[in-house]
Symmetry: D2
Subunit: 353 residues, 4 copies
Amino acid sequence: MSGNSFGHYLTISTFGESHGIAVGVIIDGLPPGLEISEKEVQIELDRRKPGQSDIATPRKEADKISFLSGHFEGRTTGTPLAMMLRNTDVRSGDYSDIMHKFRPGHADYTYQQKYGFRDWRGSGRASGRETAARVAAGAVARKWLSNHGVYILAYVQSAAGIVCESFDAAVIEKNPMRACDNLAAEKMATRVRELMESGDSAGGIIECRVSGIPAGLGNPVFDKLEADLAKGILSIGAVRGFEIGAGFKAATMRGSEHNDEMDEHGFRSNNAGGIIGGISTGQEIIFRAAVKPTSSISMRQSTQNSKGEAVEIRTEGRHDPIICPRIVPVVEGMTALVLMDHWLAQRAMRKEQ
Amino acid sequence: MSGNSFGHYLTISTFGESHGIAVGVIIDGLPPGLEISEKEVQIELDRRKPGQSDIATPRKEADKISFLSGHFEGRTTGTPLAMMLRNTDVRSGDYSDIMHKFRPGHADYTYQQKYGFRDWRGSGRASGRETAARVAAGAVARKWLSNHGVYILAYVQSAAGIVCESFDAAVIEKNPMRACDNLAAEKMATRVRELMESGDSAGGIIECRVSGIPAGLGNPVFDKLEADLAKGILSIGAVRGFEIGAGFKAATMRGSEHNDEMDEHGFRSNNAGGIIGGISTGQEIIFRAAVKPTSSISMRQSTQNSKGEAVEIRTEGRHDPIICPRIVPVVEGMTALVLMDHWLAQRAMRKEQ
Amino acid sequence: MSGNSFGHYLTISTFGESHGIAVGVIIDGLPPGLEISEKEVQIELDRRKPGQSDIATPRKEADKISFLSGHFEGRTTGTPLAMMLRNTDVRSGDYSDIMHKFRPGHADYTYQQKYGFRDWRGSGRASGRETAARVAAGAVARKWLSNHGVYILAYVQSAAGIVCESFDAAVIEKNPMRACDNLAAEKMATRVRELMESGDSAGGIIECRVSGIPAGLGNPVFDKLEADLAKGILSIGAVRGFEIGAGFKAATMRGSEHNDEMDEHGFRSNNAGGIIGGISTGQEIIFRAAVKPTSSISMRQSTQNSKGEAVEIRTEGRHDPIICPRIVPVVEGMTALVLMDHWLAQRAMRKEQ
Amino acid sequence: MSGNSFGHYLTISTFGESHGIAVGVIIDGLPPGLEISEKEVQIELDRRKPGQSDIATPRKEADKISFLSGHFEGRTTGTPLAMMLRNTDVRSGDYSDIMHKFRPGHADYTYQQKYGFRDWRGSGRASGRETAARVAAGAVARKWLSNHGVYILAYVQSAAGIVCESFDAAVIEKNPMRACDNLAAEKMATRVRELMESGDSAGGIIECRVSGIPAGLGNPVFDKLEADLAKGILSIGAVRGFEIGAGFKAATMRGSEHNDEMDEHGFRSNNAGGIIGGISTGQEIIFRAAVKPTSSISMRQSTQNSKGEAVEIRTEGRHDPIICPRIVPVVEGMTALVLMDHWLAQRAMRKEQ
């Protein structure tokens, strides 16, 4: 348990660096008999892929998934499902400058401190590339959940300072921002292009809604459903905050406002975001994640080199001016993994008859 | 692993309900030879204790800690340190009304759904009383960390809509709000008393700062330091959000603003809150937790009973109109547990010479 | 995870030393609604208790179990069930000689090496006393398994060189050796009394049979059912070997002898001991554990003191000349814990429909 | 945690079936900076490879290892080291007969029962082929241990009823039986060839010795060093028993015989096999594993088909008449993984100064 596995009952273990041979994942604990194809996983991966629009990195990755094990005659076997993506667009010449300089906002300095050693090729393990493994695993969990009536939808709720003012699920996958409001999406894209031109970058907020989760999932007191969601979401690079339901706004509400009253039809409101006491209420689960602006900017910045000297750096090369649209499927994937994990957990300890 | 253990290398397992015999904790993985006394743990527990001011529940709990094992001649032995607090002020008569009604904002409904069964005495395991075990364990971790030069300080940064405008560490333990600004603290207390009188309650934001953590702690890609902090903090009842460093504000910043530049003296700013790429930078760690208003209010509310009928409820009895001041030591305790866990982890996998 | 927890889905965490305040256990993952009483647990503990016959240590322990949490109206609640036994017969005067000498066969030397520090009172955590917590937890698992039709029976199959030649389940609890053959039991007791008089001790073999386990339990490739049983049994102090089914004898058999053939009624033999490929076959599970002779003997022995000098030692005091009869309920308890753990695991990952 | 991960601090997760695309492993928790090459791992894999002699399966597997991640400039990076072997000699035509019949001694029946579903191609995940992943991971752990002065040596101590009467480390890798006695090895090979001709198979006992382990490794009370070794070894297919030191013989010894006395030079004997109370003594660790005769025999046997009817079966095809020589490197690999895991654990919880 050194940080590269996630989940208790459904466990994923991932591997791979940005510029190594491959990234991949093993899923353990997957029930046998689940119908799933490489094609279905590929659909999710394609949503995370670089180069989907003019406001994304032009890095080209085939991101072609292969199942290596645990799959037979179109179904999971109950043994570990391993999946792998080979890295293809690996330009080794790009990184000579950053070998000895710590890029601001990047994990260069901290990796050096932790490991005493750094794979400087394209951020190594700290690259967002590792999230491809999460999306692949998440696609399998989503399929399982969808068979059980669960639907997960994440989208950009604000970006570059522009907030969505309406919610239209139909537009999300149709605008390059993956925003839930087309008008806002256009403004966001314009603002991001401006930042891009000045060599700068932007952040945003991703919202995620889940319908179809039955009441009763979550393992208090530590593995509360929101605590595991928070961990899963905060473990995604660039995420700096998490809130469920009313979230930070709850801090300024009165109890009489915030409490979700009930009547014979169930809950009358959902300030709890679908989780009370660490356990799902059966309502929609709704949470938000704050995403910082991309660390890679092409403006000149001050930093240190590995000798501890002050130096200047400009991160040339291919990077996303805003990472939010590509993080959306990662958030969905991690959410699926957490929810399926808790679903299996609940099976194990169901009430005695 | 069903939710009542926390930590990978330093692991705590807790037990106990509000109105059962006792609450307690086993700490496993504690290095031998740590000097620690019941008295030192008691100091932390007393900070969490009910009845410390007029804006807290008058419930009286002796909250007297006993070491049951793992301690010999004033030091830890390296075997499990078990600690226990007997429950004393257990009024069994108080709860007849809530046996069959789900209190809004409480986990009554969700516990019923999860376990098919509910210990209705004072919320059972869902009571904040379980956090006494966290504080006790946290006190031991704090002592160890303090021997290694780490200092953890949490405080109320806003409450009942009032925000601290200055920071004075010296005043925190001296005002009933545990706020970092005396003037704000007075306004908060006044506002809370007003809410109390109308039978209502308030929430707030707790901020936590940690100094002395060396660079290099954290286990990417899933057990990132901020991800484990988020999980630990979100696992505390009533916490609805977590943010590190610039947090949600980061979403509206530009990369050139948010990136922490460096020079030969180190970092020039700390928007990262002391953690980049899931690994500590060696700077101050700073994060915030959003706390919802206390669910127990004495106003009349609509709810369901266990037959699914709409009913009214008024939660009489002893409750805190704002839980923030008592959550401060819980936040510190969980923080200590996460940080020590990662410190031990880092020892295990230190670089080969 | 530092060695004091056991089980993946049903997890126990134990604490306590021989001469500390108490020993105890937290069970996490227990399904809610299981009917269980302190009295039922006490019955199993009484079978482990010292002083049951003239060939056992006369140490008196009330060994009175208390439920501390997780139990309400006669049933488990689904939250952690904590249980505790206070230590009563703690004679602190007995141990002055062994403070500085390492008793041969005991863990004195290795604890000193591991922890750099030793709780010399009655072996501390290395005492067999910790197994009381296992028996208590095991009693709860047994109750659950028995509700599901599983029956676990362990007994002494050989002791002090004398082998049982018949099997009569009815006599096991009626002879002080817990042997399955009354005639052999008498010879064993006579031989043990002789060894006792000369200040020496004996070992033996415990066999365990489990009926009612359905086919399909076990988690290859590492958490094979026999692997987890082996770990559980070898984790009991004094156990030095484990074999399943034909066991070591299998090493000299031919494939055509050892393979269990089948016909339309199922298996025709059970050389596999009820587990093939790490998964239960649905047949009786049968395994054996080798128990070493008690390390505490009152004969003069050579050893080292903590300064590394050669010294002599005679372990006076109260000890069992053979520990096998008292290990029988511990073996049953650990077996129950492993089997219930795997049963819950199998629920979690059952085949999709 | 569904059975395909092993180890607490150094954790391996494996995947792959006999006739799937590949088998592989992720190692997490590996300290950065360890020098290791694919070539070094290949050496160990070649020892496990089929077809090394006339008494082994003629199945040809290139068994060519590839590092996929976690390795940079000849050293581990501290991030997950993933390794993979592609399956090459996959004859899909061989298995039509066993699709519907349960081979005696094989896991066919139990996999069907557990998963409700079976990958019938060459035993799927139940094939010994998965042990290649263990050997690869074990090779890395061995390298690390060897840098710390640890040497692991396993060998066949008896086979097909013939027992080694001398011990010569130099001959082990030079005879096809990997026996420690050349004369015995010849007799074993002769006996095995006879069994082979009659379509039958043999088992044996593997002994393993480890030198260089410091005193103090092992995590009582559950993760005792011998308990984790037992689990690791029993998790290898075909192993049916485990004993440490005097093992089953201890059951017939007197305490005065079995206790290892000490003097100023240390221990005078090693009946404990180098582990007392679950913790290494600093002496040689010595244990034995009982290996059953190969289940695949070409004699006619009775069995059931998937409809529950009695049928006959003859397992044609390529199989080892005795698996012991090929299990030797697997035993060494698992031993290395357990020992390194405990070594890292001990670093984490070392005594406070």
